[in-house]
Amino acid sequence: MPDDAGRDDAVNAGTASVALARPAFPMRERMRPVAATTLLALLCGVAAVVALGIGDLPLSPAEVVRAAFATDGGFATTVVLEWRLPRVAVALAFGAALAVSGALFQSLTANPLGSPDVIGFATGSYTGALIAITVAGASFAGTAAGALIGGLGTALAVYLLAYRRGVQGFRLIVVGIGVTAMLSSVNTWLLLRSDTEVAMEASIWGAGSLALVDGAQALPALVGLVLLVPVIVLLARPLRQLELGDDAARAHGVRVEPARLAVVAGGVALIALVTAVAGPIAFVALAAPQIAKRLTRSAGVPLLASAPTGALLLLGADLVAQHVLPTPVPVGVVTVVGGGAYLLALLVHEARRRL
């Protein structure tokens, strides 16, 4: 822009931008998110190979790889591909889905506590599943449907209750926490009024477990998750704009309310698919995006890096749940304990920062 700045400046403007491209953006800092995300993805692969080798028939990583690619169909191949792979794949995919769902909500609410399990989604799906199990005596499909309806209904209710000339992040969280508290008592009441055996079954579902998931049940959810990938990719750019505040986003040409609704819908769809199949698995959605943010040192909550972080967390938690503890427990129990400690640390850290 030459004018009063003088012709020299006009000439310099070209060189300045070239010079700027180098010292102002040190490659190491630029590359860190990419490098960290790649590393996390590689770690997922390593963890998967290790996980495929653990069990009553222990296999070394080399044996796992050999068995996986063997064409003779030996016993090791059956163990690795047919017995263990579905659960490992589901753990990775569900962990990634939960984490991305959490990242969407945390970015939208600009709050590390704004994850779908805090704002009532998980509790709502449990309510739906409980009604399906204890009232209708439903099987797996019925439970999944109940969870889906319960979760989506709760998300819609929270969104509408928080809507006042648009939805503001903090209001969404506060309304969500209120709705969660109400539904928790409904859940307790539903459990208390049903027979012991039914209540036991429902409680196991409510803890969130991958043990009950077989390939046939998981497949529709996995297909659904894959279909959601392009949707999430489309949402990423408007979401980055929403982080600047509604006014700036609108001034940049974002249709703010439709974009926000789409982000809520995408985040809810991700967690809904997981919860319908595996039950409410707590805290992965809450913790993974924040861990990914610290690892990548990215601006805002990283969507992409959250995926492998969540995958690693859930696979790790599932290994602990299956093999480390004296008796296998639902993976949700492990994530609740680990996540509880994380949440406490987060709250203490936030409180200190405010003081």
């Binding site: 822009m1 704009q241 006014d247 700036a248 609108r250 001034a251």
Partner: protein, 273 residues
């Protein structure tokens, strides 16, 4: 900046000196609360229009309407004669930029990345970040004097630098029209003048500017066109020297004052009694 921007949306009426951006009998408000019953304000092509008025007179509301943040209940907001609410938001965002009263910088973002987010209306799904974007960001950083701090986290900047980073984000949008909502709030006097001088320079280089300012004397010094508002309506428009009189300041602000020539510019200077 206008010079090399092709005027794509140019039906007649966009000639120099004509209204670039205007509200036509716009009814503005929030829910049931009406702020302006029917306001017609114009921002001339090539002008530095400043909207002034007492607190709660509706000046920010008017700017929100001009910047497409608030849709009028009736009436219209026109850009080059065309309703801005009937055009794709990104198309308008390539013509009209805004420095909002409050923006948030995402946690941990560095200056250059924040500024680059102003490129959004020029980008599409398959056109993410090209040479033009990098040039626009580099130029915006140069203009506001933050080129050396491009890699610095926004959180580490001073208040003045922070505001200039947001100005750079708006500049990176490369719009021929720039709207400013109280751009100098929270800045000390030196930073206020520094920022206003920057806007004056952009204006000289061809950007049409409309701003809401609190300080009457700053408005008088920088504006080519003054829009004076009271209770949701426009009471006077025109060049500061014609508009700013002792009677007007008394009527609009309830302030007894004398208006003397500014010792630096010769324009009007409001001195309270």
């Amino acid at each position: 900046m206008t010079g090399d921007t092709p005027d794509a949306s140019g039906p007649p009426g966009a000639h120099a000196g004509g209204a670039r951006l205007e509200t036509v009998d716009a009814r503005l408000g929030y829910d049931a609360r009406v702020v302006s019953a029917g306001i017609s304000a114009r921002v001339r092509e090539g002008s530095f229009t400043v909207i002034v008025g007492p607190n709660a007179c509706g000046k920010s509301t008017l700017l929100r309407a001009l910047s497409r943040l608030l849709e009028p209940a009736s009436g219209a907001v026109l850009l080059d004669g065309r309703d801005i609410f009937r055009q794709p938001p990104k198309v308008v965002a390539r013509e009209v930029g805004l420095l909002p009263q409050a923006s948030t910088a995402p946690d941990g973002i560095v200056v250059a990345d924040l500024v680059a987010r102003g490129r959004y209306p020029h980008q599409g799904l398959f056109r993410s970040s090209g040479a033009e974007d990098r040039a626009a960001v580099a130029e915006a950083l140069e203009v506001v004097g933050l080129a050396d701090l491009a890699a610095r986290p926004v959180a580490e900047l001073s208040g003045g630098q922070r505001q200039r980073a947001f100005v750079a984000m708006a500049l990176a949008q490369r719009t021929p029209v720039l709207l400013l909502d109280e751009p100098t709030t929270f800045l000390d006097i030196a930073h206020q003048v520094e920022l206003l001088d920057l806007f004056a320079r952009l204006h000289r280089e061809g950007t049409t500017i409309a701003a809401v300012l609190h300080d009457l004397n700053q408005a008088a010094r920088y504006a080519t066109d003054l829009v004076v508002m009271k209770a949701g309506a426009i009471v006077a428009t025109g060049a500061p020297a014609d508009v700013l009189t002792e009677e007007l300041v008394h009527d609009v602000f309830g302030l007894a004052c004398v208006v003397v020539p500014d010792p630096i510019t010769g324009g009007p200077l409001v001195v309270p009694r």
